[in-house]
């Protein structure tokens, strides 16, 4: 699914080819659906938003102009559309507020593979530790390892700089490391 194929499909889609549109839809509906759920925790709202998002894309395709990375373009525009709805629904004043103290990007035990390169602790514990990170850190982790976006694409989606993405990931993993270590120490004492 690298960008050259994506880009040819995108061009056909811009030209009005309904099959190209269907291909794009099939490629990205599921990842965007998952992303939307992670942001909103609301299936109905996510699916409604996705419907109008794809209709909007088709109807305004000639205004979309040149898109460099199809994947991050879709992620960032869908994120914007969803946040707009959330803002209206919950009467938030700013986008930042939506993410504050929110349950966005919380992970469940089932979403983590048992085998982790990064640590040998139990999945239940790792899930808890991951969820104790800030929403921003969790989103970066999600986009990098769940959605497989590159650093520059994550920067585009989260509207922050390349360096900030690296900082955020570094902070997340340093925290996780410290948490894992203190967890292991606690365990060692409990066992003895």
């Amino acid at each position: 699914m690298e960008s050259s194929t994506d880009k040819s499909i995108w061009l056909l889609f811009i030209a009005g080819d309904i099959n190209a549109f269907a291909t794009l839809f099939k490629l990205y509906y599921s990842p965007l659906h998952n992303y939307g759920l992670k942001i909103s925790n609301n299936t109905v709202l996510t699916e409604d938003c996705l419907q109008s998002f794809f209709v909007y894309l088709y109807e305004n395709r000639l205004k979309l102009g040149n898109v460099n990375h199809v994947k991050s373009y879709l992620f960032v525009s869908f994120r914007r559309a969803l946040l707009k709805i959330l803002k209206r629904e919950k009467k938030f004043t700013s986008y930042e507020q939506i993410f504050e103290n929110s349950k966005s990007f919380e992970f469940s035990i089932e979403e983590l593979l048992i085998q982790q390169e990064f640590t040998k602790i139990k999945t239940t514990t790792l899930t808890k530790l991951l969820n104790s990170l800030t929403v921003r850190e969790r989103e970066a982790v999600y986009l990098k390892y769940y959605s497989n976006l590159k650093i520059n694409e994550i920067a585009e989606v989260m509207s922050i700089s390349y360096q900030s993405v690296l900082n955020t990931l570094q902070k997340a993993f340093t925290k996780l490391r410290n948490l894992v270590e203190s967890h292991e120490i606690k365990q060692a004492f409990n066992l003895n």
Binding site: S4, T5, S8, L11, L12, I14, A15, G16, D17, I18, A20, A22, F25, K26, Y29, S30, H33, N34, E47, L50, Q51, F54, V55, Y58, E59, L62, E110, E111, L112, L113, Q115, Q116, E117, F118, L126, L130, V141, K144, Y145, Y146, I151, Q163, L166, N167, L169, Q170, F173, T174, L176, R177
Partner: protein, 338 residues
């Protein structure tokens, strides 16, 4: 200070050798970065962060069922087509632009398909056989030819032409002759092309040159500089494209050139330096002599070459040296007890 660290983080993440270290996937890179970390303890935190970012978190990704996606898609397509009918404007200019875009996109896709299908065809008909360090493998090609591939070597050929082989490293060929058609057999290296009907010979492409030793029959060599030369049994031809040097001499075929294929290197009054060069090529290790004199020490006899440990202990015994094997590097010391 932190700015410096950040740029180091970025450098590490974009360094393929470092990525190999983080994934523990390449021995040379593991050795290099272990040593680098030892020498740069102040960067340990950045290194660990980079490793964690590369290793990442492994997710069990959920995918929506296909029926769900399809039903959502048809709902949207329905929406689009009903909307379209209610407000049909379509200026001529827009139609033209759309047609133009469509044509150019179609062309782009066509070219892409051609490239893709070429790649697929090429990759599916290409056969590659590789050996790891210290591994010797006897292969039977579809035409009945036998190839004995030495360690750290590779042959490749196209399924449609199995008698045209590309070689990297070192191999011994027993070419099956096909008298009915006089079909030729070719071995291609960086430096030259060996052209034969049916015979036994040895080819070594290591060290930026190609050496060919003929055991029996006769072969033609087409050198990369355009000249051709004919070989007779017991001859060694060595040619380097880079240096454009040719040497042709009669040798005793018993000697180290071909005997590796029986799992033994046989040496007759060969310097320890040359012996270690063979070890280096077969096992991919680095060699260091702590004592220059050792290099010139002569060695005679057979050394097992399929297991590095046994091979080294045989060299130690017959030369009175001590060989320390650490981090992919062999260090040779003079044995003080002798």
């Amino acid at each position: 200070m932190s700015g410096n660290n950040q740029s180091l983080l970025e450098i590490l993440l974009n360094d393929s050798s470092f990525v190999n270290w983080a994934n523990q996937s390449n021995q040379n890179d593991i050795v290099f970065w272990d040593e680098w970390i030892n020498n740069n303890p102040k960067h340990i935190k950045t290194v660990y962060a980079a490793k964690a970012i590369i290793n990442g978190i492994k997710f069990n990704k959920s995918q929506l069922p296909e029926e769900k996606v399809n039903s959502e898609l048809s709902a949207i397509i329905h929406k689009i087509s009903t909307k379209k009918n209610t407000n049909k404007i379509g200026s001529k200019k827009r139609k033209f632009l759309s047609k133009f875009l469509k044509l150019s996109a179609l062309a782009a896709i066509g070219i892409l398909l051609i490239i893709l299908s070429n790649n697929v065809l090429n990759s599916s008909s290409k056969v590659i056989q590789k050996t790891g360090f210290g591994e010797i493998v006897e292969l039977k090609l579809p035409d009945g030819t036998t190839v004995i591939l030495n360690g750290n070597s590779q042959i490749s050929y196209d399924k449609s032409n199995v008698r045209n082989i590309d070689l990297k490293g070192e191999a011994y060929f027993k070419v099956k002759s096909i008298p009915s058609t006089h079909a030729k057999f070719w071995v291609n290296t960086e430096d030259l092309k060996v052209e034969v009907y049916g015979t036994q010979f040895h080819v070594n492409t290591r060290e930026e040159k190609t050496e060919v030793v003929l055991d029996e029959g006769s072969i033609h060599l087409v050198l990369d500089n355009g000249t051709t030369t004919k070989m007779i049994p017991g001859e060694l031809v060595s040619f380097s494209k880079e240096k454009n040097t040719v040497s042709q001499k009669k040798i005793s075929t018993e000697l180290p050139y071909s005997l590796w294929r029986d799992g033994t290197y046989v040496f007759n009054n060969i310097t320890l330096e040359t012996v270690m060069k063979n070890v280096k090529q077969a096992y991919g290790v680095d060699i260091e002599f702590m004592d220059e004199e050792l290099k010139q020490q002569l060695l005679t006899g057979g050394i097992p070459n399929q297991n590095l440990k046994i091979c080294l202990s045989a060299i130690e015994k017959s030369t009175g040296t001590r060989i320390v094997h650490k981090d992919n590097k062999l260090t040779l010391y003079k044995n003080s007890n002798n």
